[in-house]
Amino acid sequence: MAEVSSSKAARTLALSGIRGRAASVSIIPAAPAERVSLRARPEDVTALSSALELELPTKPKTSATNNMRTALWLGPDEWLVIGDGEGESGLMAACAASGVLCSAVDVSHRNTAIWVEGAGAAAAINAGCPLDLSLKAFPVGACTRTIFGKVEIVLLRTGEESFRVEVWRSFSDYAYALLAEGALDATF
């Protein structure tokens, strides 16, 4: 049965094939990405930053991006590091190579992401999210874990009119459907 094991398993994405567009918002499932849930103490942030070639943000609700890597501050000792490059981008290895005490857990498949873009993007998200998404309160680069309807999401503003919504795999159908509902109402 050697031929059985020689073929690599194919990847099936959550939300595969879905694409929605309302008048002022488009909702697009993001491409696969490498993701690491990174936990570390304050004294080890510098070493981890240089290992990841990315300044880990230490201010609440902020993110940092370098090349294809983005680090999102989620808590005082917690970051979600996303590598948007093709294939495995080596985030786990970089964390291990830092030589400092940390917890790096691969969550690439735990989350999936949805891009919400357009003039009504904030309104569509506000159909289920209680955050103030005005540019004053939630500027470009702002990020946080929050609630969207009945599911938890991580929200990152990548532009004045674009957001990345990170959501656990099994909640992505719900998140997508609620975003689509919100988008229908976002022209107002």
């Binding site: 049965m1 050697a2 059985v4 094991s5 020689s6 073929s7 690599k8 398993a9 194919a10 990847r11 099936t12 994405l13 959550a14 696969p32 849930s37 936990r39 000792d77 005490l101 917890s103 790096a104 857990v105 691969d106 969550v107 690439s108 498949h109 735990r110 989350n111 309104a123 506000n126 159909a127 289920g128 999210c129 209680p130 955050l131 103030d132 005005s134 309160a137 309807g149 009945k150 599911v151 656990w168 795999r169 099994s170 909640f171 159908d173 719900y174 459907a177 609620l178 509902e181 919100g182 229908l184 109402d185 107002f188």
Partner: protein, 996 residues
């Protein structure tokens, strides 16, 4: 008055006055009321359109079925509650005709009448009314108790209630929006608009809300106010346009601020499309706004009160301001020969406007001796007969008022005056509902006889009529200050809000038996309130509940003050000592659709699906809900039902093998040098002795010593554990662990990460399990010797990184293949293809349950219930005796947890092997003992076991393990089942198969 129709084809109504009002007659729509067709003008409410056609009778009252007409022109309407439909599904009962705008094709019907509005059988209640006093239901339907269920309740339910809810599913969409602002202004009359100008000038984010289709508030009817030298209503529209053009202002009309909650949180209901002739398919019907405002300006205005006098409820009796609104805004006269009964100058203005529009005024009856000089002078100038110091002591007319009886106060001489409408005013009640909802404290202002805002609980300010500010220029100053900025507004008005009377008027005093209505919607009369006081209700809260005054859907907007004054008079106490009932949200009724908003259908609750869900569905799986998860329950083949499919699956797993989706199990990655020490504290077991590459079944107790969760924990490295939890327990177990880590053991160097959804888990169980997965696994020797039971390793499966567990929840040779979730379906498909060829099966949660029960493995939450210790569950071996600390160590030593005779988990075998017990059934020692029997415990799990060829069960039984071998009894409805107590293993007791 013209009294004639406009144009040859469109009859806009005999009471529509040409050249009066703000509607454009060019745009009309058709609607029906109780089957008869009418024409309305765009902008008409159902009330204004019906009144234009002279229709006053629109409903029957709740209790006495008395004919009722439109009373108000706004959301306070208690009478004109109608059933409004677009089609059979888009039908809503209890719609206020004074709020609902006419749309083309509206089918509108009256309620609470049978067989017809004009002839209603239920009105016999009116004749029987001496038998229906306040508190009637409480006193009458007390006994016998059985009669409640069979007789009283069905009859009362049929007779009660106004509208009938639609039976079809609501096809409309409802939207929700969270919003934030610096200043939210409730009410867009003169005060609200001025405050908005002032707030907007500071650059603040402003949301201005008004419940009417256009801004203006009282300027809709009050034509005496000029602002910046313009007609007030025109100024309001211009100001709204100016505000709407500002980027920091959002104006929401047709929107009600229905609730003012904690910390600047407000609920708004926006009626988006109820007024549209043809709403778009994607247009929501209503939109819920959940607004967080840093500051709130309440500019809610005031509500006019009616006069409480005998038979004050006939169709054709309206509030004076309502008559003025219908005239000045909608161009509709409420009658041709109108009487006026008032205790306040503002009704005179209504009479003047009507008179100038050509309506004759029979008389202004004023119960006061001295009205304002200005209005008296104008009345004289217009030739209107004013009777000061007089009262209306009765009215006549069955379906429409025909006359009013007028008497000089304190005099028996009466005069009957024919009229076709009577407009009334007892003065104005400041609308303090939202202020009160915000937990502000009111004070009683003795001089003006009204409750006014006093102590604020939130960052909020009241302006204008709702704050008792009567005079236009001070109102404007107040509003500008409330807005926090500057604005140039100058207003003049001769309209005043204070004065008037509260309580029963002449002829409705304590010495009479007349019906003088205080609360129209609930048919509460002045007499009912006095009766409540006589029967011992001394607090307004008790009086309210006894009489139901103010408890209808209008929440006593008209009736509360009158009821309070009548009660205070009876009690001979000042009003503030009698108290004021609490105003609660919602201010006006809000549809369930709006509150539910998006949360229906697929958005009611997330349906969590595993990566293999679609493949399992294609294989014919039936699914069951486990929390939010959809889990494959069983896989019926053609002709199979649940039990035959499960019997086959159970047999096949033990004979060959089965493939099971275990992806929903909770998974937590515990990482850090202190990981083992942390798990030592959170589980009853010892973890420092577990070597990397091995796994162990663990039990988690809470501090009280009761089983909280269980699962297999694998040690991947010295500092990395892969913890599994029950499917339903995953979130709370992580929360529980985080709690201890963050607050009790923060010194430990360890972190927790949920990996539940990172991994797809494919369990392969059965004698052929190894043979099935062997070819897919790279980089790991999975032979019996190299990879024994309770091993874990990282390897490659089908070229993707995997975690392989050698473990079993079936008692068979078993593996759990963990691969990154997106690869789950491909790996599952390959494994299943191979397994199928070898005679294995797919199995679901039902078979999993049976197989584990055959082995006596527990399910936390089924065989335990939060009062079961590890020892009770027969798992005492999993509690470390060596550890000096773990969560639960002290709780487990509590006297009650170590006493003899506790309920213990045991097996039960029915005497007749084919009898399958019911889970939850009670167990007794002697089935013939008198009731209530002493119950020894209950059945926790019971199944037909195909592998054992008989039924099996587990139960929690007092002193269970000492009863092994005894016969106990399970009394059921139709028979009693004898059972033998056994230990909890039913299959392969030696346990050899698991090591295969």
């Amino acid at each position: 008055m013209s009294g004639s129709s406009h144009g040859s084809t469109k009859n806009l109504g005999a009471f529509r006055i040409k050249g009066v009002g703000r509607l454009t007659p060019a745009r009309t729509s058709r609607f029906s009321f109780d089957g008869k067709s009418y024409t309305a003008i765009e902008g008409d409410t159902v009330a204004s359109a019906l009144l234009a056609h002279g229709v006053h009778l629109v409903g029957r009252s709740f209790k006495y079925h008395r004919p009722r007409g439109v009373l108000s022109a706004g959301p306070e309407e208690p009478n004109a509650l109608l059933d409004v439909a677009r089609d059979s599904a888009r039908r809503q009962p209890n719609v206020r005709a004074t709020v609902q705008e006419v749309f083309d094709g509206a089918k509108i019907a009256s309620q609470n009448r049978w067989p017809s509005l004009a002839f209603d059988v239920g009105s016999v209640n009116n004749l029987l009314s001496p038998f229906f006093p306040a508190g009637f239901y409480y006193k009458t339907f007390k006994w016998p108790q059985e009669a409640w269920e069979k007789v009283y309740e069905p009859i009362i339910r049929r007779a009660a209630g106004l509208g009938v809810a639609p039976k079809e599913e609501d096809p409309d969409r409802y939207a929700n929006r969270f919003a934030h602002c610096d200043v939210l202004i409730a009410g867009a009359g003169l005060a609200g608009l001025t405050a908005a100008l002032s707030a907007a000038a500071t650059g603040a984010e402003v949301i201005l809300v008004d419940e009417q289709p256009e801004v203006g508030g009282a300027l809709h009817f009050d034509t005496s106010t000029t602002v910046d030298g313009k007609n007030g209503f025109e100024w309001a529209q211009e100001t709204a346009a100016k505000l709407a053009a500002m980027p920091n202002v959002r104006i929401l009309t047709r929107t009600t601020v229905f609730g003012y909650y904690n910390h600047g949180f407000l609920g708004l209901a926006e009626r988006v499309s109820d007024h549209l002739n043809r709403p778009g398919r994607e247009t929501p019907r209503e939109r819920l706004w959940q607004v967080r405002a840093k500051r709130v300006v309440l500019a809610a205005g005031a509500i006019e009160r009616h006069m409480v006098f005998p038979n004050n409820d006939r169709p054709g009796i309206l509030l004076a301001s309502a008559a003025r609104t219908f005239l000045n805004h909608y161009g509709v006269a409420v009658g041709r020969n109108v009487g006026v009964y008032t205790a306040h100058d503002s009704a005179y203005e209504a009479a003047f406007d009507l008179k100038r529009a050509g309506v004759s005024i029979a008389a202004i009856v004023d119960c006061r001796e001295r009205p304002g000089e200005a209005v008296l002078a104008e009345a004289r100038a217009l030739g209107i007969n004013v009777l000061t110091g007089h009262s209306v002591t009765d009215t006549s007319g069955r379906l429409r008022i025909k006359s009013m009886t007028v008497a000089r106060n304190g005099n028996m001489d009466i005069r009957k005056m024919p009229i076709d409408a009577l407009i009334v005013s007892a003065g104005w009640t400041p609308s303090v509902h939202l202020f009160s909802q915000s937990r502000g404290k009111l004070r009683w202002d003795e001089a003006s006889q009204r409750f006014l805002p006093d102590i604020y609980a939130q960052d909020c300010v009241s302006v204008g009529a709702c704050n008792g500010t009567d005079e236009a220029s001070s109102l404007v100053h107040e509003a500008i200050a409330a807005g926090g900025g500057a604005a140039s507004v100058s207003a003049e008005s001769r309209f005043g809000w204070s004065g008037g009377m509260i309580g029963a008027a002449e002829g409705a005093g304590p010495d009479t038996r007349v019906k003088a209505f205080v609360d129209f919607q609930h048919d509460v009369t002045a007499k009912d309130i006095r009766l409540a006081v006589r029967e011992g209700m001394h607090s307004i809260e008790h009086i309210k509940r006894f009489t139901t005054n103010g408890m209808a859907s209008d929440q006593g907007k008209l009736s509360n003050m009158h009821g309070l004054a009548i009660a205070a008079e009876m009690l001979d106490r000042p009003i503030p000592q009698v108290g004021l009932t609490t105003f609660r949200a919602p201010y006006t009724p809000v549809t369930y659709g709006t509150l539910v908003a998006h949360s229906r259908g697929e958005l009611f609750d997330p349906a969590r699906k595993t990566p293999m869900h679609d493949l399992e569905a294609a294989e014919g799986a039936e699914f069951e809900d486990v929390g939010n998860w959809k889990r494959a329950w069983y896989f019926p083949k053609r002709g199979e039902n649940l039990s035959s499919a499960v019997n086959r699956e159970c047999r096949t797993v033990r004979d060959v093998a089965g493939v099971f989706d275990a992806s929903t199990l909770g998974k937590i990655e515990v990482v850090g040098p202190d990981a083992a020490q942390f798990l030592n504290l959170l589980y009853t077991n010892a973890w420092d002795t577990l070597k990397p590459g091995k796994c162990r079944y663990g039990i988690m107790t809470r501090e009280d010593g009761f089983v909280y969760d269980d699962g297999v924990v694998g040690r991947l490295a010295e500092d990395r554990f892969h913890v599994t939890t029950t499917t339903g327990g995953a979130p709370r177990v992580l929360h529980h662990m985080e709690d201890y880590l963050q607050t009790e053991f923060p010194h430990l160097k360890v972190w927790l990460t949920s990996t539940t959804e990172q991994w797809a888990v494919i369990a392969v169980q059965g004698p052929k399990a190894r043979e099935i997965i062997q070819p897919f696994v790279d980089g790991l020797d999975i032979s019996r010797e190299a990879f024994p039971h309770m091993s874990v390793a990282e390897c490659t499966v089908m070229g993707v990184p995997a975690r392989l567990f050698r473990m079993s929840f079936t008692g068979e040779l078993g593996f759990e293949v963990n691969v990154p979730a997106d690869y789950g379906s491909a790996v599952w498909m390959a494994i299943w293809e191979r397994a199928k060829g070898m005679g294995a099966c797919l199995y679901g949660t039902e078979t999993m349950h049976v197989l584990r029960a055959e082995k006596g493995y527990i399910i936390v939450g089924q065989d335990t219930d939060g009062t079961v210790t590890p020892e009770d569950a027969g798992l005492g071996w999993a509690v470390s005796k060596k550890k000096t600390d773990f969560v639960g160590i002290r709780g487990l030593k509590r006297p009650d947890l170590v006493r003899d005779g506790r309920k213990q988990l045991v097996g039960l075998l029915t005497n007749r092997p084919s009898d399958v017990l019911e889970e939850g059934a009670q167990i007794v020692g002697d089935p013939n003992q008198p009731k209530p029997m002493t119950m020894l415990g209950h059945v926790t799990s019971a199944y037909w076991s195909e592998n054992c060829g008989r039924s099996i069960a587990m139960a929690l039984v007092a002193g269970g393990r000492s009863r092994i071998g005894q016969t106990l009894y399970v009394p059921m409805k139709d028979r009693t089942i004898a059972v033998e107590v056994t230990d909890t293993g039913f299959f392969d007791k030696e346990g050899g198969r698991i090591h295969g």
